[in-house]
């Protein structure tokens, strides 16, 4: 079937959702948020690479835009925390 590769990605996304809901109901304490965020990062990477076709994108600029946005956000959040947490 021509759509098979997209269906595989969808199955992976649904399985990851099931895993993240299950791990959230187990009690990992403070590490819990890291686990669910790591799974969210994997899921969004799958969507970006395969549904949004970044895996077959030839232009370096477009390939790098999302990592640039994530780094920018990480810097914003990181710098804000150095201020907020040590006041």
């Amino acid at each position: 079937m021509a759509y098979a590769r997209y269906v595989y990605i969808w199955v992976a996304l649904i399985v990851l959702t099931a895993i993240t809901v299950t791990t959230a109901s187990l009690n990992f304490g403070r590490a819990g948020i890291l686990v669910v965020l790591a799974i969210a990062a994997i899921k969004s990477t799958l969507v970006l690479l395969y549904f949004m076709h970044l895996s077959s994108e030839k232009r370096l600029l477009l390939k790098l835009l999302v990592p640039i946005a994530i780094c920018t956000l990480a810097i914003f959040i990181g710098l804000t925390f150095t201020d907020v947490m040590y006041r």
Binding site: A2, Y3, Y6, V7, I9, W10, L13, I14, T17, T20, V21, A24, G32, I33, V36, L37, I39, A40, K43, S44, V47, L48, Y50, F51, M52, S56, K58, R59, L61, L62, L65, V66, I68, A69, I70, T72, L73, F76, I77, T80, F81, V84, M85
Partner: protein
């Protein structure tokens, strides 16, 4: 595949717009992370009041709508089957509507418990819970607005395909509408654990 770079200008423009969308939500994620760090207990307590079932159901609906959206683009770009594209676009819009219906039930249940921004019942709660529900309504509300915009854009593209204005050779608008829809999905992928799975 040869004509993939045909609409490169449109694609660059779309990705720059998506970048600005990521930073728009990014500002709200920044607020969320700071307030959560300041009030971890209150966030935890408030989160138990959300329906994990509704959140999970909506996640599954939105992920499935992303599958039908990418199938719509693939059907026109690679298979040149506009009728299938119309079917898949219709399915994507229907899933979007289903997402909004679940969201409406969820919000209605919160309103009935007196939980909405500036509500008297909510304002008597600890500060962290007030912040949590403020962020919950702002972020899921802004996201729902994006779902509505996405459904509108997809409907316009569906009409384009039906009238032969979007074809295999002229598919940039369809592709960009698909990209927008997937980005809305990506944002939900992060909203879901941050609001529903932290209790």
């Amino acid at each position: 595949m040869e004509n993939r770079d045909h609409g490169v200008g449109a694609r660059v423009g779309m990705w720059l717009f998506l970048l600005s969308e990521i930073l728009l939500f990014g500002g709200l994620f920044l607020l969320y992370s700071v307030y959560r760090a300041k009030h971890p207990g209150d966030f935890h307590a408030a989160s138990t009041e959300l329906s994990r079932f509704d959140g999970t159901l909506n996640t599954a609906i939105l992920l499935t709508s992303s599958l039908t959206a990418v199938a719509a683009v693939f059907s026109l770009q690679e298979l040149n089957k506009p009728k299938r594209t119309i079917f898949f676009l219709g399915a994507t819009i229907a899933f979007g509507l289903a997402f909004l219906v679940v969201k409406a039930f969820e919000w209605t249940a919160k309103f009935e418990h007196g939980l909405y921004p500036n509500a008297a019942v909510l304002m008597k709660r600890p500060p962290g819970e007030i912040l949590y529900f403020g962020l919950y309504f702002t972020m899921t509300g802004l996201h729902a607005l994006h779902v509505i915009i996405g459904m509108t854009v997809l409907s316009v593209i569906l009409a384009f395909v039906a009238r032969g204005k979007a074809t295999q050779e002229r598919s940039a608008a369809l592709e960009n509408a698909g990209l927008y829809w997937h980005l809305v999905d990506v944002i939900w992928i992060f909203l879901f654990p941050l609001f529903y799975l932290i209790s």
